[in-house]
């Protein structure tokens, strides 16, 4: 039987889109708080950004775009 995975791929794409949206929401909420906390501890802006990207890379798969988006 030939497998038609068209609908499966559509579902997978929807899942990815919704995941990105969900992760962006979480990042938007937490990244500013993380940033503010590090800045209050004396971290430079660039170092702060790099640290947050490094620390959160494992959380948000589409990491840099998600995190940088939340920083803006």
């Amino acid at each position: 039987m030939t497998k038609d995975l068209t609908h499966y791929k559509e579902l997978l794409q929807q899942a990815k889109t919704q995941t990105e949206t969900a992760l962006a929401t979480v990042a938007k909420r937490f990244v500013p708080e993380l940033y503010t906390e590090l800045r209050s501890l004396g971290y430079d802006p660039d170092v702060t950004r790099q640290k947050i990207v490094r620390d959160c890379k494992s959380l948000w798969i589409y990491e840099v775009a998600t995190i940088v988006g939340a920083l803006q």
Binding site: K3, Q14, V26, R29, E37
Partner: protein, 162 residues
């Protein structure tokens, strides 16, 4: 100046928990649909599960995915794991050291472990079988008991039966 990252780490933990929660929500919504679609297209349960895990591992943790996979696919996974475990035990049993027994006049002269078969009439059995055999044999009266058994290292030359 030493930086106190306690609060930062707490925030990070909260972000992680929120991430897992949101991922779980999306996975709950999509994994059952994706699974049903694969089954409708002729996939067996376990291959369907594997495909979803492979395709979605970049988005969600395996645990999150498996949470929404039907039991029929999980049972198959357990079966395969059990089968692999049995095979591993069989392999281990075959590679276990064997015991070489030298017998003369009805008495065991020597038991030694060795790694090669010989042509001197000695008997080879698996260590497990030997243990079972020894446990099954009732204790003999002292007067009939053979000389104490000696266990020699692998490299020792066996004592020939006279």
């Amino acid at each position: 100046m030493t930086k106190d990252l306690t609060h930062y780490n707490e925030l990070w933990q909260q972000a992680r928990a929120a991430t897992y929660d949101r991922n779980a929500e999306v996975a709950e919504q999509f994994v059952p649909k994706m699974y049903d679609e694969l089954i409708n297209q002729g996939y067996k349960p376990y291959p369907a599960r594997r495909k979803i895990e492979k395709d979605c591992v970049v988005m969600w943790r395996i645990e999150t995915i498996d949470k929404w996979i039907p039991d029929e696919a999980k049972d198959k996974g357990k079966q395969e794991a059990a089968k692999a475990s049995v095979e591993a035990r069989k392999t281990k049993s075959l590679t276990e050291p064997k015991i070489k027994i030298f017998v003369t006049q009805g008495q065991v002269l020597q038991i030694s472990t060795a790694s090669h078969l010989s042509t001197d009439g000695s008997i080879w059995i698996h260590a497990n079988a030997m243990r079972d055999f020894l446990e099954a044999v009732p204790d003999k009266p002292k007067s009939e008991a053979p000389e104490p058994l000696t266990v020699q290292p692998v490299s020792s030359a066996p004592i020939k039966a006279k």
